[in-house]
Amino acid sequence: MADEQLTTIEPMSLADIAQEQSDKSFTNREAVFEVKDLAVDYSGAIAIREVSLDVYKNSVTAFIGPSGCGKSTFIRCFNRMNDLVPGAHIHGDVLYHGKDLYAADVDPVEVRRRIGMVFQKPNPFPKSIYDNVAFGPRVLRLRGSLDERVEKGLRQAALWDEVKNRLKESALGLSGGQQQRLCIARCLAVEPDVILMDEPASALDPISTTRIEDLMHDLKREYTIVIVTHNMQQAARVADMTAFFSVDVAPDGNKRTGILVEYDRTSKIFTTPADKRTEDYVTGRFG
């Protein structure tokens, strides 16, 4: 962070303070996604149902919950990755800036350009570092200098300094944490609006995890970030809003579907959650 310069700190007026407080509340920010009564089934088996929530601009929203609660299924609805799973059906609405993401005339390719995704296990392509980051702009035929896009992506992912002298080397030679940042750089190179992260740090060591979390903090100034995490403390650290999902078991014990239990500011979820199930989960008594 050597580029930071000292600026004089001006005292905040009461109006500014009030603005900052209300900014922190998020609810009067623009909603990037509006989910209404969403359900997903795989060939008839319902994975998750009755989910309604809004994701706000320039925030980090976390989905937490026990395994099997459908949070990964849910996050994949935001960039239509569930389209690739045979037998997957989406019911309900997902609105992106007010437009139905699943309308017949919407091109999934365009959706995925705007809404990028980083996966749990880093999945760099078996190509050079440069070609990894350049892949997106190339397939999407984005205009502008490819070199600049690659550099910008790598800088934003805090990886540039480590790889700038070996861009032509294989991406597979990087460490796990570096590979994940490469995947983030790859995602950023196409200039998305939203970045989805499905357990981005769960395969990484603690130091790499911290770096990724710091990155999220930086990136949310320009992007909107949604993460799935099974690490509650991570959600507590990075997320502005947290949604807790749980598993609803049918009386006969067979049908298990995911449901949204509570969605609120992270501070509230971790100090005074409204639902007992949320309380039990975050205190570790269950789940």
Partner: protein, 221 residues
């Protein structure tokens, strides 16, 4: 139930706090008895005994610190730990106030007492004792209603305090008893402060149960 060792640690910490409460009650009884009977030896015992209270205070404080560092409690667990931390302080302060009473008793050695005032102190001491018990029980049972009842009990102590002040004004012209009287105002004040601390413990209990912190009473009244 998961986090068994965590739950056990929490339970143990609460137990330590209750133990501290019992020690404070012992101090209080000793201090009030010393004043009322003008028992200087008892006063010395009370002063020495405060070391036990302080040791227990330190135990609880350490316990809270370790719990926060190792277990990262959230939600109701966090509120409990924070409540324990603050109650610990209140109890320790109560202990110190008992020591002050004992010291004042020693200072007034040989001075003629006023029976009416001593009666008043006895009553205030009983009230304070009752309040401490209610506060501790309401914490143990997470009883918000009981916690809120402390407000009324505090009102009784306050009235007793006012009666003491009035009595002192009555006897103020008597030069012999005036010095004793001035010192005794402080004793009264200490007992009244003990009552306030008990109310604060009740507030913590309410916070623990409801998640909202509300002062039971506005200090400006």
């Amino acid at each position: 139930m998961a986090r068994i060792s965590f739950q056990e640690e929490l339970d143990e910490l609460e137990l330590e706090l209750r133990t501290e409460g019992e020690l404070v009650l012992r101090s209080l009884r000793g201090a009030v008895e010393a004043v009322c009977s003008q028992d200087l030896e008892l006063a010395d015992e009370v002063i020495a005994f405060d070391d036990d209270v302080d040791a227990q205070y330190f135990e609880v404080e350490q316990g809270v610190e370790l719990l926060l560092a190792r277990q990262t409690p959230v939600a109701s667990d966090l509120r409990l730990v924070l409540a324990l931390l603050k109650d610990n302080l209140h109890l320790e302060r109560m202990g110190d106030l008992c020591v002050t009473i004992a010291k004042l008793t020693k200072l007034t050695k040989g001075l003629p007492p006023d029976e009416v005032l001593l009666e008043g102190f006895k009553e205030m001491g009983e009230r304070a004792e009752q309040m401490i018990r209610v506060a501790l029980r309401s914490l143990q049972e997470r009883d918000r209603v009981a916690a809120e009842s402390l407000l009324e009990l505090d009102e009784l102590i306050d009235r007793a305090n006012r009666r003491v002040v009035n009595r002192l004004l009555e006897i103020g012209h008597d030069l012999e008893r005036r010095e004793w009287g001035l010192r005794m105002i402080l004793v009264s004040r200490c007992l009244e402060r003990i009552g306030d601390h008990a109310v604060d413990v009740g507030e913590q209990t309410a916070y623990l149960v409801t998640g909202e912190f509300r002062e039971f009473t506005d200090a400006s009244r």
